[in-house]
Symmetry: C2
Subunit: 329 residues, 2 copies
């Protein structure tokens, strides 16, 4: 609901320092922060002498529509998607830095809502993880850039390249639900002109939550590493394409069991943005946390053959390409 | 010079994986990288169990104009401005992650030029520092988000809050030159309609280089820490406003010597984007590297008085506010 400017002034009306003063108290502090926000840089603890780092952009248009995503959703998803990349290395997330560029006319409640979403995602998905720094700027295109850090706690990182023939292929988290939610938004949460409609999106929330505010199984990344996972990846572009990345990096192939992929195996294999974890484990391992078996690592075919199979039959690998699939011009 | 699409295809024509394949070979690797680009996250060494982290956005419009800045300039400045924040903590820069969002129709040579600028800035300003990860996305507004890391090598970070009355105030790097360059661009590198003109900017390069491709004294950050600097800051918004931040964080005031600020003291005090280093040192210290004395730390006035003085006279503090000073809408 729009508020009058007195309650909800624009970023331009408030100016940077007063915007920051309204956002900072909402952000969670990080247990690992030795020097937090407010200096030229933060200082973070890296107890085992290493740290994990990943970065991701969320851009209005290709990545979200303000009519569908609340500010809280945006903050939540920006945190969750980056936390999943840290988890996929077998690390425990420790901190985020967050840079936001918004039109000067945006209400400050937009940034407050994002801050609340960042906080709630950290507290819910990765307790102890907090925000240690950031940047605010003005842009015609609303943009959120998150960089996330993690602690390997003395373990080796779990890479994409360690899968071996005979390993179990397992997934923790949902498959295809984010893509199904996106389909619902594009087909049922649009007005007569095909434009995103906030009211319709609200009514369909139950069907779209996995897309708008995903809940990746962050703690299962560490659990997989402790259980001896040989390879792991965040399922961000689709199960088939992300499994293909693991298979090619490891020099193996992956054979999925159709019966383990639910009622819509093609949706499970092709849908992106679930931010679930795909991991491979030695065959003797008891699967940890929420992991369930979905297939088996097999020897790669000689030559340039398919690295992804479904019940033994080569399966096409398709996924999202930000430049080829979307033009924001 | 525009090339035909065969030589210089757009990002949309190439697709993400082929764009990355053209950029990666141009980027410098980081000596501290234990796991580099290509997995869900990178792993970096933090030998003393801590790391410094800072992040900054560069947005087309408020931060740069493509007619004035070459792609190489953009990569250089994105690296240099973040390296300066790491240096201002007294740390040695170790690595960057870089996220770029560009219109799908942009030529790949734009990203190649940025990659070359990032590389040349790292090699020139912070040898050993490299790129360990990033993200590519599509956006109507060209955006570069850099997060930079540094190693304190066992030292305490140099904060803004440590200046003490009697300390020397010193600067390494230019003052006012970036602002002077910006003034030249806005007054002399525009066409009859006031629009940025690439040809005129080229002719004026000598006068604008400090603005378009600053060369902050990165190594002097570490040198200042080793010499015992009590406080330090990257002069990004202007000497007066950044000195005011040090003074207020330290509970002191800073008195600048007009005679030490060159021929245009007001430009030196008010001009932003120099990315020089302002540091305070105990009075007995021999100033390291390129540092020169520009003033003295004095006791703060009781109450809400000015924290910045020029030859003993209170001086106004003004600086750049991204939201109040620029509307990109």
């Amino acid at each position: 609901m729009p508020k009058d400017a007195g309650e909800d002034p624009s970023l331009g009306e408030l100016g940077e320092s007063r915007v920051l003063a309204r956002i900072f108290p909402r952000l969670p502090s990080a247990a690992a922060a030795l020097v937090g926000p407010g200096d030229d840089a933060a200082v973070l603890a890296a107890p085992d002498g290493r740290f994990v780092v990943t970065t991701d952009l969320m851009i209005e248009g290709p990545d979200f529509r303000p009519a569908w995503s609340s500010p809280h959703d945006l903050g939540w998803k920006a945190a969750a998607s980056n936390l999943a990349d840290v988890a996929a290395m077998g690390a425990r997330p420790t901190a985020l830095v967050v840079a936001i560029a918004a039109p000067a006319g945006s209400p400050v409640s937009l940034l407050e809502g994002i801050a609340d979403g960042l906080r709630d995602a950290c507290e819910s998905l990765a307790p102890g993880c907090g925000i240690v720094g950031g940047d605010l700027s003005v842009s015609a295109t609303f943009t959120i850039a998150v960089t996330a850090f993690g602690d390997l706690e003395g373990r080796e990182p779990v890479l994409r390249s360690g899968a071996r023939p005979g390993d179990i292929v397992a997934v923790s988290g949902v498959l295809g639900e984010a893509a199904a939610g996106l389909h619902v938004l594009f087909t049922r949460a649009v007005d007569g002109h095909g434009e995103p409609d906030a009211g319709l999106a609200d009514e369909l929330r139950e069907l779209t939550a996995a897309q708008l505010a995903p809940t990746p199984p962050i703690a299962d990344g560490r659990a997989a590493a402790l259980a001896g996972a040989t390879a792991m990846i965040d399922v961000s572009d689709g199960l088939a394409i992300d499994a293909d990345r693991v298979a090619r990096a490891s020099g193996v192939a992956i054979d999925f069991d159709r019966s383990a992929l639910g009622g819509e195996p093609e949706l499970a294999l092709g849908g992106g943005e679930d931010h679930s974890l795909l991991a491979t484990f030695p065959p003797t391992v008891e699967l940890p946390g929420g992991f369930r078996r979905v297939g088996t690592v097999i020897e790669a075919e000689p030559g340039d053959g398919s690295a992804i199979l479904l019940d033994g039959v080569p399966h096409p690998v398709t996924g999202w390409d930000p430049f080829a699939d979307h033009s924001a011009e």
